[in-house]
C-alpha cells in the first residue's frame, strides 16, 4: 500500500465525510423545522427524504465507478475526496492531466503517479480549479436570488447552451487527442493509435446504445449507469483487443 492509500489519506477522507454529513444534516434539520411551520405535512417531508435517497443510489454508484477508474493513477483516496466535494469526473481528470503535463510527465493519467510532489500538485490543481462556486455563493447568491426570476428565464436557453458548449469544448480536446495526438516517443501505448481509437469509438457506441435502451419504460433505471457502464465496456474492449499479445507473451515465457 503506497502513500496514496496510507492511513493518513484515509483519515483526510473520513474527515471530509463527517464534514459533509454534518452540514447536510444541519440544513435538513432547519428546513424540516421550517417545513412544519409552513404547514407541510410530515408525511410529505418524509417522502421527500425517501424518494431522494432512492433517486440517488444509482447515480452515486455511477460516481463511485468513475472514482475507481482514475484510482489507477491517483490512488483511491484522492479521487474519492475530489469527487465527493464539488466533484465532477470530467473536470477532475482534466485538472489532474493538466498538472501532470506541467511536470512534463509522459503518459499523464494513463500511468500510476509515484511521485509525492506530483501527487500534491495534482491535489492542488484539482482543488483550486473547483473552488470558484464556494467563493461566488457567499458573495453573490443572495443578490442573485433576489433578482433572478426574469433575467434567467429570458436567457435560460442561452445559458444552457453555453454550459453545454463549454463542456463539449473540453471533451473535444480529449477526443481529438485520442484520435490523432502524439504521446511521448519512448512510451508505448500513450499516443493515439489503434487502441485509443478503438476504445474511443467503443465508448461512444456503447453510450449511444445504452442511452437508447434507457429510454424504454422498463429500462429507465439504466440511465445514470449509461456513462460509467459505457466506459467500463470500452475498457473491456481494450482488454480483449490486447489479449492476443498476452497469449503470445505467455507462450514465449513458457
Amino acid at each position: 500500500m503506497d502513500f496514496k492509500e496510507s492511513g493518513f489519506m484515509y483519515l483526510l477522507g473520513s474527515g471530509m465525510v463527517v464534514f459533509i454529513l454534518l452540514q447536510s444534516l444541519f440544513f435538513m434539520k432547519k428546513a424540516w423545522g421550517q417545513g412544519k411551520k409552513l404547514g407541510i405535512k410530515v408525511s410529505t417531508l418524509k417522502n421527500t427524504v425517501v424518494s431522494s435517497v432512492l433517486f440517488t443510489i444509482a447515480p452515486a454508484l455511477a460516481i463511485l465507478v468513475t472514482v475507481i477508474t482514475i484510482a489507477g493513477a491517483l490512488g483511491l483516496v484522492l479521487p474519492w475526496i475530489r469527487l465527493s466535494i464539488i466533484g465532477n469526473i470530467g473536470y477532475e481528470v482534466t485538472a489532474a492531466q493538466s498538472t501532470l503535463e506541467a511536470f512534463g510527465i509522459p503518459g499523464g493519467l494513463n500511468f500510476e503517479v509515484k511521485d509525492k510532489t506530483v501527487f500534491a500538485a495534482a491535489a492542488w490543481v484539482m482543488t483550486v480549479g473547483s473552488v470558484m462556486p464556494l467563493i461566488l455563493l457567499p458573495l453573490f447568491l443572495k443578490k442573485i436570488q433576489k433578482r433572478v426570476g426574469k433575467a434567467v428565464n429570458a436567457n435560460a436557453k442561452w445559458a444552457d447552451l453555453m454550459s453545454a458548449a463549454a463542456f463539449i469544448g473540453l471533451i473535444a480536446a480529449f477526443i481529438a487527442r485520442s484520435v490523432i495526438g502524439a504521446g511521448e516517443k519512448d512510451i508505448a501505448g500513450d499516443g493515439a493509435g489503434f487502441l485509443s481509437i478503438a476504445t474511443l469509438l467503443s465508448a461512444m457506441l456503447f453510450m449511444l446504445v445504452l442511452q437508447r435502451l434507457s429510454k424504454k419504460p422498463k429500462l429507465k433505471w439504466l440511465e445514470p449507469f449509461a456513462m460509467p457502464l459505457s466506459m467500463f465496456l470500452a475498457m473491456g474492449v481494450t482488454t480483449v483487443l490486447t489479449l492476443p499479445q498476452d497469449i503470445i507473451n505467455l507462450e514465449w515465457r513458457g
Partner: protein, 218 residues
Amino acid sequence: MGGTYFDKVHRWGKISSLTSLAVMLSIPLAICVYFDVWPQASVVLNGLLKVIPLFWSVAVIEVITYAPMLGAGGTYLSFVTGNISNLKLPCGLNAMQNADVRANSEEGEVISTIAIAASAITTTIIIALGVLLFSPLLPLLTKEGSLFAPAFQQVIPALFGALGAGYFAKHWKISVLPIAFGIVVLVFAPAFPVGTLIFVTVAVSLLGAHMMYKKKIV
C-alpha cells in the same frame, strides 16, 4: 439572531460555503505538510492556468443557472458536494414535483433543501463504503503486466468517448466545430499539450455555439 428564514438560510449558507472552502483547501495543504513535499508554485500555477479560465467561467454560469431552480439552501448544499446537473438538480426538481410545490416558493425552498441534503448524505455514504470495500481489489487490477493494465491506460478515450457521445447526441450541431478544430490543430502540432488545446477547443466551441444561437441554427 433575527431575520426571516430566507435571511437565516443565507447566513448559514455563507458560513457553510466558507467552511467548506477551508476544508477543501486544507486537503492539498495537509498532503504537502504530512508528506513534506512542496511542489513549485510555478508548476502548480502552470497546471492551474490551463483549467481556471474554463472551470471558473462554468462556475459562474452554473451558479446563475441553477440557483433559481434549487432555492437557497439547495444551492449552497449542491455546490459543496457537486455533481449538480447529473444528480442534485434532477433530485431537487423531482422532489418538488412529487410534493407538488413550486420551485421558487417558500415550500419549494424547504423541499429542495431536504431533498438535496438527503441526496448528499446518500452519495457520500455510498462512495465512502464503495471505496473502503474496493480498496483491496485495486492493486490486482492496475499493476503492470496485469490483464487489465492496458484498459487502465485507455481511461481517457473511454471516459471522454462515453461522456462525449451523450452530449454530442443532444448537441451535435455545436459539437462538430470544436472536435474538427482540435483534430486540425493536432495534425499540424501533434504534441500540442492538452491543457492549452482545451483552451482553444472551448473558445471555438463557445464562439461557434453563440453564433449558431444568434443565427438561430440551434
